[in-house]
């Protein structure tokens, strides 16, 4: 796996985790 791909995957996972985390926090944890 190239360095570029590794960097991109780390960054993309941060974005995805933030997106899902925001919704999950107020959905599953009810605020």
């Amino acid at each position: 796996m190239s360095n570029n791909l590794k960097t991109a995957l780390v960054l993309a996972s941060i974005a995805l985790a933030t997106y899902a985390g925001i919704i999950a926090k107020y959905w599953l944890l009810n605020g």
Binding site: N4, A15, W27
Partner: protein, 537 residues
């Protein structure tokens, strides 16, 4: 901006590097070039033209608003359409015009400034751009749906958004596409800067424009998903029975405001930081001096980015929050003046005792410096809780953020276009017309927006199509200024087209104070493929 074709016959640069091989794999011809291109210069060009078109669309909406406000009473549009104009003007200008303009600069300049052959993910770069026209189309199409476009303001506040027609769904989908484009673009920019710099170009040797974009890309990556999450929750509230923002089901409309502004305030710096980067490139070039305090500029950019995450609730002082909360957000907001002050001081110190000349890019950079600082000061005024409670949602706020967004970001974008146009096209713009464009823009901008401070201080609320007679004079002046400002931008279009078609051939380095790799190591215009072999610094 589309004059870069290939590099037939370009000589090796002054360091003897043969890194222009466009003749072997130049672009397709016709429309396929633009649809299929993976070249950072082509994609940068598309971003810039797209942003200018959106600027004209959003500007036309602003003129509808200002025409209605020319005198009290309802003249031209009904209140609902007025609200739709306000909403779409904001969304289109922020997401369609200003942000793509700076992504255009990033695409063109970052690889050339760090000695990289292209962006790290060239196909992803193409996709990031081509998401934008679809998102813009959704926003425009929303006007033709039952109920029209959403009239909720660019902030898309709940619970209004839960009540809007199908136009709201199109807008939510558009915001998702715009967010996806920004996130993919950010991943590309960060990866390019971290992994593809020329050997021996350490982080602290990067041009400040590159630094500001690196930090901006992290801001985008951290905040865009929050906005996407908030509008997704709006969507599920509308159609899937959730009540995130609906008090009837135990939800909280204020939660939306928290989520939006957690994105929205860093968004201000997502727009401002690349503008700082452009100005930090232009001012040293026309002062013929290195940028004063480079290291402190880098740390000030970090400081602004960090603080932008802990000040969001200064947009919400009036929702009812504990006084401790108000105090925290007030002090944190005031603190932003420190790193911003460092930057303003450094720009002025760069000019101090420099061999200054005042070509159009420098005029716009100085205009930026003067007016952005003014916008910063009114921001400080608004950060004060007792004052903000009086001025909240008045025209004072409108004046403030237009000094930041227009005089800040737009002036810097103009400075950047005039500065890099010779590098992009190989042609010079008409300097006399450029200067006329600057002065018309400068004068009409202030005629439009300075008087709005008075309207706000007198208590005129924003987002209303009608107003009491006492506000008429300043509104008339503001509307006249807006139309003058709008017409002045057609001159900009003429200047650019004239330069591309009939401009004088640009010398290799028209700005003697320019020191970045794009000017010192590449011919003008920049070849279609550059730095296929990393430059030796």
């Amino acid at each position: 901006m589309s004059a870069v074709v290939d590099s037939h016959g370009h000589p090796a640069d002054e360091h003897g590097q043969h890194d222009q091989h466009g003749a072997h794999h130049g672009p397709y011809g016709g429309i396929m070039r633009w649809i299929t291109t993976t070249n950072h210069k082509d994609i940068g060009t598309m971003y810039l033209w797209f942003s200018f078109m959106m600027f004209l669309v959003g500007g036309t909406m602003a003129l509808v608003i200002r025409a209605e406000l020319f005198q009290p009473g309802m003249q031209l549009v009904d209140p609902d359409f007025f609200n739709q104009m306000n909403t779409m003007h904001g969304l289109i200008m922020v997401f369609g015009a200003i942000m793509p303009a700076f992504v255009g600069f990033a695409n063109w300049q970052i690889p050339m400034m760090i000695g990289a052959p292209d962006m790290a993910f060239a196909r992803l770069n193409n996709w990031s751009f081509w998401l934008l026209p679809f998102a813009a189309s959704l926003l425009v199409i929303s006007f033709f749906t039952p109920g029209g476009a959403p009239g909720v303001g660019w902030t898309l506040y709940a619970p209004l958004t839960v009540q809007m027609g199908i136009g709201m769904d199109l807008t939510i989908f558009a915001v998702h596409l715009l967010g996806m484009s920004s996130i993919l673009g950010s991943i590309n920019i960060i990866t390019t800067i971290l992994n593809m710099r020329a050997p021996s170009m350490g982080l602290m040797r990067m041009p400040l424009f590159v630094w500001t974009w690196l930090i901006t890309a992290y801001l985008l990556l951290a905040t865009m998903p929050v906005l996407a999450g908030a509008v997704t929750m709006t969507l599920t509230d509308r159609h899937f029975g959730t009540t995130f923002f609906n008090a009837v089901g135990g939800g909280d409309p204020v939660l939306y405001q928290h989520l939006f502004w957690f994105f929205g305030h860093p968004e201000v710096y997502i727009i401002a930081l690349p503008a700082f980067g452009v100005v930090s490139t232009v001012i040293p070039a026309f002062s013929r001096k290195p940028l004063f305090g480079y290291t402190s500029m880098v740390y000030a950019t970090f400081g602004i980015a960090f603080l932008s995450f802990i000040v969001w609730a200064h947009h919400m002082y009036t929702v009812g929050m504990p006084v401790e909360g108000q105090l925290f957000f007030m002090y944190a907001t005031t603190l932003i003046a420190v790193p911003t002050g460092v930057k303003v001081f450094n720009w002025v110190a760069t000019m101090w005792k420099g061999s200054l000349t005042f070509e159009t890019p420098m005029l716009f950079a100085i205009g930026f410096l003067f007016l952005f600082t003014l916008g910063g000061f009114t921001g400080l005024v608004l950060s004060m809780v007792p004052i903000d409670i009086q001025l909240h949602d008045t025209y004072y706020v409108v004046a403030h953020f237009h000094y930041v967004m227009v005089a800040g970001a737009l002036f810097a974008a103009f400075a950047g276009v005039y500065f890099w146009l010779p590098k992009w096209t190989g042609r010079m713009y008409d300097e006399r017309l450029g200067q006329i464009h600057f002065w018309l823009t400068m004068i009409f901008f202030n005629v439009t927006f300075f008087v709005q401070h008075f309207l706000g201080l007198a208590g005129m609320p924003r987002r209303i199509p009608d107003y009491p007679l006492m506000f008429e004079t300043w509104n008339r002046i503001s509307s006249i200024g807006a139309f003058g400002f709008g017409v002045s931008q057609l001159l900009f279009l003429y200047i650019i087209l004239k330069a591309i078609r009939h401009g004088e051939k640009a010398p290799r380095k028209p700005w003697e104070g320019a020191v970045t790799l794009d000017w010192t190591r590449l011919p003008t215009p920049a070849p279609y493929h550059s730095f296929e072999t990393p430059p030796v610094l």
